[in-house]
Amino acid sequence: MMLVSIGDQIEEGFYPFHSRFNRAVNFKQGDRLVSVVNKEIGDGPLNIVVRDLPAAQGQKPLEISVGQVVFEGHAYRFTRRHRYCSTLEGGIAVSPRFRHNLSLFGELLQTSSHPKSLAFLLNDKRTQSFRSGFERRFAEHVQHSVRQIFGGNRLTGVGALTGCGIGLTPSGDDFIAGLLIGLNLHGTGFRGLAEQIFAAARSDNIFSNTFLDLARRGRLFGRMKNLILALGRESEDDVRKCTESLFAVGGTSGADLGTGFFMTLWNGFGAS
């Protein structure tokens, strides 16, 4: 196993085993998770990326000391060059080019994302994919909650959206994480609001809490960081490529997060 990168939010310590999936092994660091993942999952502030994730070998804790990770009983060295930086070094200007690319991202959300993602919030026709009784109610509930958020009743809307949806990280939580990332792009003036939203969205789901916490602090996983950087560049191809990469996260997670991010920036949530 070769260590590819280690997130900049991972501190030295001894972390008990939490859970194991095909492409990730999770360990508890207080009320958040540090994950050893393969390259498909990729860089993240709390990810240790390894070239080949070994098959299940028990539930040994993860040990991190200066320049060394001990995973499943084996030690792996790392240096500063392995550290993944999860912030946008130098920030990003919301320029006309950024807005143009953001509009393209919005189109891609509507045309290329998973049919059951929250992109139906951008295009009513997509609700046609929600067919069962539960799915229809789900779509209505999400629409109502998001209307509250963008209609000024922010924290009530966030509370209603939290935990909404199927899967490990419910779609509603992904959307809120996208919203927090969008708020962060607006600048430090919205830090207080981001804190309030985070507090309203916290739950017993340690997976959601982990990425909501990272999002409120502007700590980005690799695919999201790449997308934001691409939005500021000239190439539409880059935007498409990074969008595709984001949509490949989870079943609908990448697109749900992207929808929250897009709506926050496009609707001028911060400005209102």
Partner: protein, 510 residues
């Protein structure tokens, strides 16, 4: 209605797995609705408002998995809950949680399978060309399933492949059968001595299935992608594939299927055919066949079978003429059931070649034919969502498939359109294709039967099934189910179109 549920403490699954299990449960007999979700407060509220929250599930926490089922009987509800474990295991396998080796690059795949000589490429179009070139440089034939590959890239790939003695099937090549292995959207057909080259995806599926259902078999079925026979590409791969089959020992008869090639490309094909010592049957859909030769996919397939079996092509003509008399009788019977004002056919196709073939056949029988993908004399529809007079829709066109699966996989749009068309008092016949095989919907009869039953109350539903009994869906089983639902099932797309056209002709004479 009975509502039951289960709580699974601390069980984590990704959303794709849970969606899959939820859909499987909801699709079970006697089950009205089902959901498999994490037990968050919001989800419980949604379950409750959907009538899916039995009181015992209210205690579930954020990290618990909830399984809720609404069913007609207690037995159906219990049976659904009993299969959840199995479905979760199955779905986890399908979403990739197995421990098998899954290479993530061409180089990795070649390390796992060093003897491979063909790469099937299905990635976004703008990257597919480069991947295909890497495969060619590694000495692999290429099947390029991806579309949206730039034309210049296609030409570059095909020229390089020709120089290297390799084939490039595609871009936008949806089907092929190589050495008996069905690739992408393909059917399980008999192996035999008929080799096929096709620049028409569902056309290839139709002819290979008819050949197999007739008891003959296919040696190789090579798709080239529709653009290959256009002027710019010049038929590079169509010609190379023809040469391959000419040399292939097991191929005795060659069958060519395509929409009309560019005249220059057709000239090159004709020139090459003249040099081949094996019998060659060709069908260029919509081309002038007054000089003889087959005029439908069915006729082309049957002719190839006849020639391969040492019979005369005239036998096929006699057989089809006899069948035509049956079609006329059936058309008369169906026309008599239609009310005054019902006078149009509405063809809703998942296969592009079938849609084109329908238009060509209709143009010989009826007037006022419109389509979103016009062929022959058909006119362009103003709005693809609204039918005009006799309308033939290709639901596989980009306008219907962006952001959703192909209609061969997802029947939602077509089912809705069937019901809408049936409500139109001018509709007399709804014409459908049902394509089986790998890649297509695993249970099309279950998807279609309900809507056919409803539509059948007002209109005639005529359909063809492209598939074999060895396909995962089993053609005979699908046919029985569709007939039971009230559809008139024809042996080919051509026969279905001819029946529909005859009914409309008779209604027009009223």
């Amino acid at each position: 209605m009975i509502v039951v549920g289960q709580i699974r403490k601390g069980a984590y699954f990704d959303s794709v797995t849970l969606m899959r299990v939820g859909k499987e449960l909801a699709g079970r007999k006697g089950v009205a609705d089902a959901a498999v979700v994490m037990g968050t407060k919001s989800n419980k509220a949604i379950l409750s408002s959907s009538g899916l929250l039995p009181s015992r599930l209210s205690d579930a926490g954020d990290t618990d998995l909830l399984v809720a089922v609404k069913a007609e009987t207690q037995m159906a509800a219990d049976a659904a809950l009993a299969v959840v474990d199995g479905l979760l295991k199955q779905a986890v396998k399908k979403t990739g949680a197995s421990s098998e080796v899954r290479p993530t690059s061409l180089e990795g795949a070649l390390r796992v399978m060093p003897d491979a000589n063909l790469a099937l490429i299905s990635v976004a179009g703008r990257y597919a060309g480069d991947e295909a070139m890497r495969a060619l440089e590694n000495g692999l034939h290429v099947m390029l399933f991806s579309d949206n590959v730039p034309l210049e890239k296609e030409i570059e790939l095909k020229k390089f492949a020709k120089k290297s003695g390799l084939l490039v099937m595609g871009p936008d090549c949806g089907t092929a059968i190589i050495n008996g292995v069905p690739l992408a959207f393909a059917n399980v057909v008999n192996r035999g001595n008929i080799g096929i080259v096709a620049a028409a995806g569902t056309g290839l599926q139709e002819v290979s299935c008819i050949i197999s259902n007739e008891g003959a078999g296919v040696s190789q079925a090579i798709g080239t992608g529709g653009r290959d026979v256009k002027k710019e590409v010049g038929g590079i791969m169509f010609l190379e594939s023809l040469k391959v089959l000419a040399k292939d020992q097991t191929t005795r008869v060659i069958l060519l299927v395509s929409k009309p090639p560019h005249p220059e490309v057709l000239r090159r094909i004709t020139k090459l055919v003249k040099t081949i010592r094996k019998p060659v049957v060709d069908l260029f859909i919509g081309a002038d066949t007054r000089g003889g030769g087959p005029s439908t996919l069915e006729e082309a397939a049957l002719t190839a079978v006849a020639v391969a079996g040492g019979k005369k092509p005239d036998d096929v003509q006699q057989r089809l003429t006899a069948r035509d008399a049956d079609l006329r009788r059936l058309a008369k019977r169906e026309a008599a059931k239609r009310k005054r004002g019902q006078k149009y056919v509405r063809g809703l196709f998942s296969g592009g070649t079938f849609c084109a073939e329908a238009q060509i056949l209709f143009s010989r029988m009826i007037s006022g034919v419109y389509s979103n993908a016009p062929a022959g004399k058909a006119k362009q529809l103003k709005n693809s969502l609204t039918s005009q007079k006799n309308t033939v829709i290709d639901l596989g066109e980009d306008e219907f498939t962006v952001g959703r699966p192909h209609p061969m996989i997802d029947y939602t749009l077509r089912n809705r359109r069937i019901l809408d068309e049936a409500q139109d008092s001018a509709t007399a016949v709804i014409l459908l294709d049902v394509v089986l095989g790998y890649g297509s919907h695993p249970d099309p009869a279950a998807e279609l039967s309900g809507v056919i039953r409803q539509a059948r109350k007002k209109v005639a539903v005529v359909c063809s099934i492209t598939g074999t009994d060895n396909d995962p869906q089993n053609r005979s089983r699908v046919e029985v189910a569709l007939r039971k639902a009230g559809a008139i099932v024809m042996p080919s797309n051509a026969a279905a179109c001819q029946l529909a056209g005859r009914i409309i002709q008779l209604l027009g004479r009223r």
